[in-house]
């Protein structure tokens, strides 16, 4: 399958091919067959290069979180391959995966739920060190204090409990916890969507600073294109478990080729009121179909204004259309939206 992997100048730190994650919905009755299968992720491929930010965007329920969880083997891939620094992760034992986890970490969507309420902030941030046998009583506290400073928290709060902190501060604690192992890749699952708008920018800027300082690669998940616009180098758009378009940020925003990307962009609010009034809008009809019973062929066909017969019969491959701009559509066509 063709993807943006044609970029041969660099080698990716994280390389995902044809990732499929299905969830069996178990029947509550004993001995009954599983009634339905949720096709959460269905054949996603992408690369993440060292030090870059890849935005992963899509509507609620399209499989973004599942993709992120699969990277860390928190959701078991049904098939496909996930390579970290060339090493295959699918099928690794728990112990072998433990080594990888020091380089591959995740920050969760929910800053309130992802910290243990019975642990002090210091204990939470120190946990990764303890898990990987890197905690020593001499150096550990210093490392925790330093991680806290890096995310803009006063180390003297180490003995406080999470309930004394705001959402933004908790997300910083979560970032410090992920950072303390010195990872190469950080998966950020909608790191600011649960936060007040007023503190979102602070956290986004912090992430950008940390990336600049330490060269960490980010897989930044978001549910709309506006959040990732400022921080991403490249953006992947996901619809119902599949990546439909992936391109450099400038290309994707200025010349989107997939009808779904175009619709998403046309719905994003613009800062300039004049441009806002003049630009064309693509209104999508209907709802996202259920992932238990996705449409045949192109999954977007039930809502696509350009759908033809072939769209129902053939799954469009994600094909590179030049300049690392890959699109999964039978009728791609660059269109200026904003």
């Amino acid at each position: 399958m063709a993807t943006d992997s044609t970029d041969t100048t660099r080698s990716p730190v994280l390389s995902v091919r044809d990732l499929v994650v299905h969830f069996q919905k178990k029947s509550s009755l004993p001995f009954a067959k599983p009634t339905s299968v949720v096709h959460a992720v269905c054949g996603s491929s992408f690369d993440l290069f060292p030090g870059e930010t890849l935005g992963l965007v899509g509507e609620s329920g399209c499989g973004k979180t599942t993709t992120g969880r699969a990277m860390l083997q928190l959701a078991e891939p049904t098939s496909g391959s996930i390579k970290f620094d060339g090493q295959e992760l699918v099928g690794l034992s728990r112990k072998e995966m433990g080594e990888i986890r020091q380089n591959l970490q995740i920050v969760f969507q929910d800053p309130f739920g992802s910290l243990d309420p019975k642990m002090t902030v210091g204990q939470s941030i120190a946990e990764p060190l303890a898990i990987h046998g890197r905690w020593t009583d001499e150096e550990g506290p210093g490392l925790v204090a330093e991680a806290m400073r890096h995310v803009g928290l006063d180390p003297k709060f180490a003995s406080r409990f999470p309930n004394e902190f705001s959402g933004g501060q908790r997300q910083r604690i979560g970032i410090a916890r992920a950072l303390i192992l010195n990872p190469k890749v950080l998966i950020l699952d909608e790191p600011v969507s649960a936060l007040d708008v007023s503190v979102q920018a602070g956290v986004i800027n912090l992430l950008a600073d940390l990336q600049e300082k330490f060269g960490i690669a980010y897989l930044m998940i978001a549910h709309d294109l506006s959040v990732v616009r400022h921080v991403s180098d490249r953006v992947a758009v996901m619809y119902l478990g599949r990546i439909v378009e992936i391109a450099d940020k400038v290309d994707l925003y200025s010349a989107p080729q997939h009808p779904y990307t175009q619709a998403l962009l046309s719905a994003a609010p613009l800062a300039d009121p004049k441009a806002e009034r003049q630009r064309k809008r693509i209104i999508l009809e209907g709802d996202v179909p259920s992932p238990t019973n996705p449409p045949s062929g192109c999954r977007f066909r039930t809502r696509c204004p350009k759908a033809q017969d072939i769209c129902a019969n053939e799954i469009p491959d994600l094909i590179d259309r030049g300049q690392n701009h890959a699109v999964a559509c039978h009728f791609p066509e660059a269109m200026k939206i904003i």
Binding site: G98, E127, E146, R177, K213
Partner: protein, 298 residues
């Protein structure tokens, strides 16, 4: 580039939750008082039973005498020294409290934790065993078992072990339900993402978060076990005279609560103190893990 300097600047001391909880508990005056009273009763009872082993079986002609210098707790209708009886009986109840709480905590929590955390076949098997123990009426099992034990003289330790063995099921069910809910919480997934082992997730995250449920129900189970023992004695199934328990004395003293109140109030008071100690100790253990208390204590 490394995020951290080799030698980090010194930060605040960080200890595990269990050490924090231990430290909190040691500052908890109520809980410490509870333990102190518990231990004092235990020592006094042990000493008294050793110094005067026949105290409770020596009949005197002082029938139903009120407390006096010679009989500090008075005597029973049949002329037995009530203080000897109360202390000997307290020993029985303390043994029950210790054994039942240990078994409920260890077996109940372990079975519930394993079933709730790992789920699947292990869960099904463990819970069917628990169901079996819950479905068969406790009394029936006790009647059968204690017949076997009674023939051996109704040893207090054997009775305590028997009650303990049958009391952990309730807690294991509650712990399992609590773990089922807790393991879906994002902080558990966060810990697994960091590479934590199941042992670590259970001991560092799940148990501290389930400690309220565990402690409240352990104390209730102990109180229930003490009551159960007196019911058994009443039915003649538990310990048999000359062995004695506070429950037994309370049952005997009930009838004369108005005519010779000491026969009721001394054993009942002692029983109440023991149960209160259990509650206070349990409460302290629960509070030791509670962040809100940590603040207050500072």
């Amino acid at each position: 580039m490394s995020i951290f300097r080799k030698k980090g600047r010194s930060g605040e001391k960080i200890e595990t939750q269990w050490s924090t909880a231990m430290r909190n508990f040691r500052k908890d005056k109520m809980a410490l008082t509870g333990i102190a009273i518990f231990v004092i009763i235990l020592i006094v009872a042990l000493v008294q039973t050793m110094l005067n082993p026949k105290g409770w079986s020596t009949l005197t002609t002082d029938f139903a005498k009120p407390p006096s210098w010679h009989h500090p707790f008075g005597t029973t209708d049949s002329g037995l020294d009530l203080m000897s009886g109360c202390l000997k009986g307290a020993l029985q109840d303390l043994i029950i409290a210790v054994i039942v709480s240990t078994m409920a905590l260890v077996i109940g929590t372990a079975v519930g934790a394993v079933a709730g955390y790992f789920g699947g076949l292990l869960d099904s098997v463990l819970m069917r065993v628990v169901d079996l123990l819950l479905v068969v009426p406790l009394l029936t099992i006790l009647i059968v078992m204690s017949n076997i034990f009674s023939s051996g003289g109704g040893s207090p330790l054997a009775i305590a072990l028997l009650i303990g063995f049958l009391s952990w099921t309730y807690i294991s069910r509650l712990v399992r339900a609590e773990f089922l809910a807790l393991r879906e919480r994002p902080f558990v997934e966060a810990s697994i993402a960091l590479g934590a082992s199941s042992w670590r997730v259970i001991t560092r995250h799940l148990i501290p978060n389930a400690i309220g449920v565990i402690m409240v129900n352990t104390t209730l189970t102990v109180a229930g076990a003490i009551l159960l023992e007196s019911t058994l004695s009443y039915l003649g199934l538990g310990i048999v005279p000359p062995a004695v328990s506070l429950g037994m004395l309370v049952q005997d003293g009930q009838g004369s609560a108005t005519t010779s109140p000491w026969q009721f109030f001394f054993p009942a008071g002692l029983l109440l103190i023991i149960v209160l100690c259990v509650f206070v100790i349990g409460d302290g253990m629960q509070a030791a893990f509670d962040p809100r208390n940590a603040r207050r204590r500072k």
